[in-house]
Symmetry: C2
Amino acid sequence: MSRWQPNARGRLEQAALDLYSERGFEQTTAAQIAERAGLTERTFFRHYADKREVLFGGAHLLQELFVNTLADIPESAAPIDAMASTLETVADAVFLERHEHSRQRQAVIAASAELRERELIKLASLSAALAATLRRRGVDDQAASLTAEAGIAVFKVGFEGWVGGNGEHTLADFLRESLEELKAVAAGAGRRKN
Amino acid sequence: MSRWQPNARGRLEQAALDLYSERGFEQTTAAQIAERAGLTERTFFRHYADKREVLFGGAHLLQELFVNTLADIPESAAPIDAMASTLETVADAVFLERHEHSRQRQAVIAASAELRERELIKLASLSAALAATLRRRGVDDQAASLTAEAGIAVFKVGFEGWVGGNGEHTLADFLRESLEELKAVAAGAGRRKN
């Protein structure tokens, strides 16, 4: 390992990321991840149910942060504005110093259908939680689902742009641009090349 | 089986759907599906790589239909209008007589995390194919991705409403309503209850 890791979960995640980058997800075992992290296989399975989950250990906390941030926004805000503010707050709270880590993680996920599936179900869970939060704020069922799905779409496209870039601009910048583009698209515009 | 099935794939899909409904996805084997369809396990694996794929045998054709429909729309149409027209055309071409089948299939998928993951990756593949088609039509990269993601969001929410309803209105009706709601949400509205 290239740097000190404060805890078993973090060490296992970084070891998994490094091994998946070096040899691929399919070719790596939980035992190898534990060994690289200086821990036992038993410790691995105490923390993670399987080889996929080790890359998504933070998903639950991230979802909680999204939901709490959205719930704290005044209900007078339009749903899409509440969503925009939530995306930016989370981006600044979690991803400011994580460009290189996020880039490496995204490359590993993109290379494995199994990991892409797992990531998609985490995003679907996040979307459902955000929609439920909007409903609790008095937003109509369908509008809540569509605002949440729009937020996830903006996040996916903005995140992809951010990890594909050089890290000069923040994720929040990319998310703002992505949301503006979604609004333009929905209004019947949509930039054309040339 | 309650009705005549013209081919092995269709028979296997219906048998799988019935067994997954009766005993659950986890509790059903490929051999049992083949038996119910009056076929051999070997035939099952000649047609489908695994127990999940049997529910997604039509995904490739559906994606092809989406892409061809979108490609045929005049390039003068705004991306969101091209997407709206594509959704309605596909809905009428594929789902007019499929309410009960779609309802049963969706209930089975909703009950299994493994099947939900597989469905999400099929939708992600569809989204990527639609975005690529929009790019070939001269739409800017980011606008293409967001139009495709918006189309998938509209499809998911509209489809959910349709299978949850009594089948009186068509899927195309639900998709139109869902798209109007997305446009309203993006414009800063979003219906509120009460």
